[in-house]
Symmetry: C2
Subunit: 136 residues, 2 copies
Amino acid sequence: MPSADYEEQKAVARANRAFYRAFESQDLAGMSGLWDDDPGVQCIHPGGETLVGRERVLASWEAIFTHSEPLRFELVDVELRVEGELAWVSLVERIAGPEDEPAAEAACTNLFALRDGAWRMLLHHASPIQRRFFDA
Amino acid sequence: MPSADYEEQKAVARANRAFYRAFESQDLAGMSGLWDDDPGVQCIHPGGETLVGRERVLASWEAIFTHSEPLRFELVDVELRVEGELAWVSLVERIAGPEDEPAAEAACTNLFALRDGAWRMLLHHASPIQRRFFDA
């Protein structure tokens, strides 16, 4: 029988997938529902400054959804950890543009908190991968 | 009387300061001692890929300390949260070069885990701030 930990890991993985589904489909309501109500929620888009608070974070998603073509992601090197009521997911976003432009990659850290039985997003930190310390 | 939470917050703040002290003084032994033994520790330097595991993470610090001039940091917008045995710190690193070069800024997420009474680093994610969504 799967452990409670395993069930929570699956729940975090679902929340993480829901985040990328909302991102790809430019679903602002879905994105809004994923983020926690905590006033300290934070979002760092690639190359961007730290946006703090639901209002600024959601305004940034609205701006991205309004002004960008939809993106498609392949998520690789996904690592997921649950510690009590906090969880973090790290992964590499492989991003393909609308016209199959050459893929870009971003290193990503996502934090979730368990609130009334639901895993909600506390932080999304994505940064462009421009150079490598080591050969892959 | 300070709460236990407050004491833990102070302990996380100390661990975070120790990280920047080791960084500024290029103290590889100090840096090594700060990182957790967990095989999943991760480090993302500005513009870099995700480095996983103590060996790769510490090799990257050794390379930075060997090939770079010492950096000085001003830490601003520091937010700190403890949830059980996991803690995260977010901040902006204002980086001044050795000759008072114009400062660069990096958005930073640091994760710590409580292990045998000590807060040890699980993740350091720093990304260059190149553009702003909103006026500061």
